[in-house]
């Protein structure tokens, strides 16, 4: 569907209100015309010195139109803005809802700055579509129709002139603006998004920028991006100022032409002299309906560009369909079997090749291997972020594909290197895992993750805010929050993706001890590079280039003199 049509479709729940707003907008202009026409007639008629009674209706009319215009304008603005903001609010939520199933599989190609700019900035841009694009043409047509009905009564050429004036100001001028501005709107949206994405990259990479003394370099790129944005804005401003000035010229020109045509008509008696001033002012004030049209074209282009970006974003197909039963009785214990699973990311070569292993209650499996060997992919598949291509994963004997992804994830706790820490308090960050947990459970998790000493030392304790992406925390503290989350979630399966990365050896040991008790009775998969952690594992899988090259217990692998044994010796040598 075309973006224009889709945007119109969003009007569905509020269209009667929007229609009312259009009517009110028209009445506002009609009241203004009424005010000027009756005033002019009043003065012209008074100049002929009739009795006061003949003027009384006009006097009432002048007062009525004076008040009505202001009231209509207020109502029109209030109603149209209220309806538009309702649409925008629904759009924001709707876009998030469409985005949510896409993560993380189909959002990898997007910079989060772009995503962010789309949801916040582009949705805001769409406001103009509902306020400044749709209503003005309708109001202009209604106004013109009324005016022509009156004018054709006196002279067709007069009506034709007014029609021509409206046509020039309302259609020819906007089209000319569009021609000149071609692509300007979408370029502007793109330039703003590029500036935003670059600024985000700059803020996130501040450490490197400061350490390499690259501030000037980044500043000059920001300056260039800003200049580009400003240049585009300047182009649009130049066009809009020209269009405003042409609009004024067309309006006044029409008034001038109407006078030129009316003068002989007054002389010949076709038009009574008393109407001359009223008709001239009617033409002048009616142009209020046409003058916003050139900018409507500009707003239309800008909002369509924003809409196209938004739709492109949310129309991507989800990697995993939320198929399977929503109702899935959560088992106390879980057994996950991975059988002959192969996987590749869209055409980037096989990452996993016929992998098989099973996670059973109380059993600990370790996965080791060089980076890029596909270890993290296994976690993504187990969490059903991607659909497997060949092979089978079962949960308590049931095919993964028949279970809702949400239900699958409920059974897993993950401690990974990529855990995101939200800009909230430590407490809120941990409670993310289980919002309904009580204070006792929370404190137990905090202690288990060896966070208690740290938080006790903070003036605000657990309620300390951690800043953007947990920046106020050290690498170790971040990881401990992730561990506390997993402790709190308390699930039958545990996925540990290098859980002690960045921790000092003593804390790492403490954490591994805590995890050790946590693993009891649960099925555990540990991904690690630290070979000292795998000694107590029931089974160790060595992954190399997507394939399991060795498997067995610690002792078996050491005896086999394969890759594992070599890695082990590597890690031990410096201490020898």
């Amino acid at each position: 569907m075309k973006p224009f049509v889709r945007l119109i479709a969003m009007l569905a729940p509020v269209w009667p209100v929007m229609l009312l707003a259009v009517c009110l907008g028209w009445l506002t202009i009609a009241a203004n015309i009424g005010l000027m026409v009756t005033s002019a007639w009043l003065i012209a008629a008074a100049a002929l010195h009739p009795s006061i009674a003949e003027l009384s209706v006009a006097i009432v009319g002048v007062r009525f139109f004076g008040v009505a215009r202001a009231v209509f304008r207020y109502l029109e603005r209030y109603i149209s803005h209220d309806a538009t903001f309702r649409i925008l609010s629904r759009l924001r939520v709707g876009f998030y809802q469409r985005l949510e199933p896409l993560a993380p599989a189909n959002l990898q190609t997007w910079q989060s700055g772009e995503l962010f700019s789309a949801i916040v900035g582009d949705v805001e841009t769409l406001k103009d579509f509902y306020l400044r694009v749709l209503a003005p043409p309708l109001i202009a047509v209604l106004t013109l129709t009324g005016l022509l009905l009156v004018f054709q009564h006196y002279s067709l050429s007069l009506a034709a002139l007014v029609f021509a004036g409206f046509l020039l100001a309302g259609i020819v001028l906007p089209l000319a603006v569009r021609q000149v501005n071609k692509g300007g709107g979408s370029e502007l949206v793109a330039a703003r998004a590029a500036l935003k994405a670059y600024l985000l990259d700059t803020v996130n990479g501040m450490t490197e920028i400061a350490a390499f003394d690259h501030q000037q370099r980044h500043l000059s790129t920001i300056r260039n991006l800003n200049d580009h944005l400003i240049r585009l804005q300047g182009r649009i401003a130049a066009v809009s100022s020209l269009s405003d000035s042409w609009g004024s010229l067309i309006m006044n020109g029409t008034l001038w032409g109407v006078l030129w045509l009316l003068i002989p008509l007054v002389r010949s008696g076709t038009v009574e002299g008393v109407y001359l001033a009223a008709m001239a002012l009617a033409v002048q004030s009616s142009f209020e309906a046409v003058l916003p049209l050139p900018m409507a074209v500009h707003y239309c282009q800008e909002s369509l560009a924003a809409a196209r970006r938004l739709f492109r974003l949310v129309d991507a197909p989800a990697a995993v369909l939320p198929s399977g039963q929503e109702q899935f009785a959560e088992p106390e214990q879980a057994e996950v079997c991975v059988q002959g699973v192969s996987f590749e990311y869209d055409g980037l070569g096989k990452v996993l090749n016929r992998i098989s292993f099973s996670l059973r209650p109380g059993k600990r499996v370790a996965l080791i291997g060089p980076s890029g060997a596909g270890k993290s992919t296994i976690i993504h598949l187990l969490l059903r972020f991607w659909e497997i291509e060949s092979g089978l994963i079962t949960l308590n004997g049931r095919d993964y594909r028949t279970i809702n992804p949400e239900a699958v994830r409920r059974l897993f706790s993950v401690v990974s290197q990529q855990t995101h820490i939200f800009n909230a308090s430590i407490r809120e960050n941990i409670l993310l895992a289980c919002p309904e947990a009580g204070e006792r459970e929370l404190m137990a998790a905090v202690r288990g993750a060896a966070l208690d000493e740290f938080t006790a030392g903070l003036p605000e304790g657990l309620d300390t805010q951690v800043g953007n992406n947990g920046q106020a925390l050290s690498g170790g503290q971040r990881q401990r929050i992730a561990i506390a989350r997993a402790l709190l979630k308390n699930t039958p399966v545990l996925l540990l993706d290098e859980p002690t990365v960045g921790l000092d050896p003593i804390t790492a040991k403490q954490i591994m001890n805590t995890i050790d008790t946590l693993m009891r009775g649960r099925a555990t998969l540990l991904i690690t590079h630290d070979l000292t952690d795998v000694e107590t594992m029931d089974e160790i899988l060595v992954l190399d280039q997507g394939e399991v090259t060795e498997r067995g217990t610690f002792a078996e692998l050491l005896n086999s003199q394969g890759l594992f044994a070599r890695l082990w010796h590597l890690q031990q040598t410096p201490l020898a």
Binding site: I43, R73, R77, V203, T207, H218, A280, R409, V501
Partner: protein, 575 residues
């Protein structure tokens, strides 16, 4: 209502501003002339019985005025934009420059999303303040007086009617403006909060999904979005009501002028030409005041944004930047910490307390200790992100605070805990170490860092885009690129921050070889947890609670059976 700091931004654009005001005054005069011409024509035809030929000269005069008016409109808008653009650009550059000068430690408390929306939308909001609001303020003060000057000699009654009603408009505006200002500030805060929250949710979407919390974020987003809608609407409601009041005053006054003038015309107290001229001028009298009302709220959005902008611009930048001595590239570097104290949040969270350390030229010193012991703070101080609150750092005997930061950083290569890859190609990312480096030098650095092999395997080799939105790289690959940066920079002093965390043993071994090559012949400060990397250091310094607890070679420290021994045994897994 008027922000003095913003007004000062006008600086050398002041001339442009007065030109704008002049153009608007010209337009005001043309309005009066047009009304005069129109009155003459209509009076001549309606009461004077003239035909087209009789009023021709007035008609052509009218046409001339109309063309001139269009020209002035064009010039006015063009220069208004020019004025705003200059100020916008300079503010945006200053704000971005200030953020970069503040550095990573100072902006840790700020939200990236909020900073970015301030830099983009916040600055955009400044435009209407300069392009519309401020010029209109002057026009609203001058043009009505100008029109009044024409009305007074014609008809005292109408003049007094205009004079009495006109002050109502600014009075109402100020009353309503006070209310709007508070609301505006709240709207800006809500918008910032909403932006920051969106960014946080988007960046943490995978984590939210793992915990099954991503779907319920819809509720949070819906709530915030509704909150934003409500507050925007309440701001606008005030704007609409003020417009209603202003419009009522203006249209009712116009109606009053029409009626009173009409009645006096009826009783021969006024000529038609006078009456019609007054009717045409009455709406023009109120127009500048009404337009001020409509630009007022756009102007206020700029004032609210300015508040935040100046708040950030007021954040102090460390004084190290004021060091004036240029440090030429040293062949050898000795660094000394003398009783250095530092605490975060203005000293509230102490990190270093009386830290002493001496690094001899070419010496490789390893810093070990529990997390939070103060190791990263040492690196932050050496990189100029922060500066000692007490004590000093000496470089070859010179106080570091006397040296320009740029010439000091030129001597330092830094490998951070988690390297950030910028959006750009692999080669561009390596060139961070030395932007002017040749392609051959980049490749040589990659070879030395053990990165060449995997880079060559990427779809476009060195031209492959990486960073956010680019080709995903593993932790080990990112680190190798960071090492290549350091090789390319070839600085005499090297700081390695947890350079080997998060890699598997095979990678680690290869990286050790690369790092060993990198460290040769340089003064090195190594901050490490993986003790296997520190064994060969010339000296191991154990940091505890912001002080040096132990210091010596590996064997010596083992013999002491102190903190280092405890750390080591934990690492070996036989506690």
């Amino acid at each position: 209502m008027i922000d003095k700091r913003l007004n000062r931004e006008m600086g050398h654009y002041r001339l442009l501003f007065f030109m704008l005001v002049g153009l608007s005054l010209g337009s005001g005069i043309l309005v009066v002339l047009q009304a005069d011409m129109l009155t003459k024509i209509i009076d001549g035809v309606f009461l004077g019985g003239l035909d087209v030929a009789g009023v021709e000269h007035w008609l052509y005069g009218l046409l001339g005025i109309m063309v001139l008016k269009a020209l002035l409109i064009w010039l006015n808008e063009f220069y208004a934009h020019r004025l705003a653009v200059g100020i916008k650009s300079s503010l945006r550059e200053r704000l971005a420059g200030h953020l970069l000068a503040l550095g990573p430690v100072s902006i840790r408390g700020e939200q990236a999303g909020e900073l970015i929306s301030l830099l983009v939308e916040g600055i955009e909001n400044i435009e209407p303040y300069f392009a519309r609001f401020l010029p209109q303020l002057v026009i609203a003060a001058v043009v009505p007086l100008l029109i009044l000057g024409f009305v007074v000699p014609l008809d005292a009654t109408t003049a007094s009617l205009l004079l009495v009603t006109a002050p109502l408009i600014p009075v109402f505006m100020i009353l309503i403006g006070k209310m709007a200002e508070k609301l505006n500030k709240r709207q800006w805060e809500t918008l910032s909060r909403l932006s920051a929250h969106f960014l946080d949710v988007l960046q943490g979407l995978t984590t939210l999904k793992i915990f099954g919390r991503s779907v319920e974020q819809v509720r949070v987003i819906a709530r915030m979005s509704d909150e934003f809608r409500d507050i925007t609407l309440s701001v606008l409601k005030v704007a609409f009501i003020s417009a209603l009041v202003l419009e009522l005053v203006a249209t009712i006054s116009t109606a009053l002028v029409a009626v009173t003038v009409g009645l006096r015309l009826l009783y021969y107290k006024l000529a038609f030409s006078q009456a019609f001229f007054l009717l045409l001028l009455a709406p023009e009298f109120y127009l500048p005041l009404r337009q001020l009302g409509s630009h007022f709220h756009a102007g206020m959005a700029g004032v609210s944004a300015a508040e935040r902008i100046y708040h950030i611009l007021a954040m102090p930048v460390g004084k190290q930047h004021h060091g004036t001595q240029k440090l030429v590239r040293q062949a050898e570097l000795a660094i000394e910490f003398k009783q250095v104290h530092f605490g975060y949040q203005g000293g509230e969270r102490p990190a270093l307390a009386g830290f002493d350390l001496k690094l001899m030229p070419g010496e490789q010193v390893a810093l070990v200790g529990a997390s939070g012991a103060g190791k990263s703070t040492v690196a932050n101080l050496l990189l100029g992100f922060i500066e000692p609150q007490q004590g000093e750092i000496l470089v070859n005997g010179f106080p570091l605070s006397d040296i320009t930061l740029a010439s000091w950083l030129d001597q330092v290569a830094y490998l951070p805990q988690a390297s950030h890859l910028f959006y750009g190609t692999v080669a561009e990312n390596i060139r961070l170490g030395r932007p002017e480096a040749s392609e051959a030098a980049v490749e040589a650095a990659a070879v030395a860092a053990g990165a060449h092999e995997f880079i060559a395997g990427l779809p476009q080799g060195y031209a492959t885009p990486v960073g956010e939105g680019g080709h995903g790289l593993s932790g080990g690959e990112k680190r190798r690129i960071a090492i290549a940066r350091a090789f390319l920079k070839d600085a005499p002093f090297l700081i390695l921050d947890e350079a080997t965390a998060g890699l598997d043993a095979k990678n680690e071994y290869e990286l050790q070889l690369a790092l060993k090559r990198l460290m040769t012949g340089r003064t090195v400060l190594l901050i490490a947890h993986r003790l296997s990397t520190v064994v060969h250091a010339d000296r191991i310094v154990v940091v505890d609670q912001g002080r040096v607890a132990e210091c010596g070679r590996h064997e010596e420290l083992i013999g002491q059976k102190g903190l280092y021994y405890q750390l080591l045994t934990a690492f070996r897994g036989d506690v």
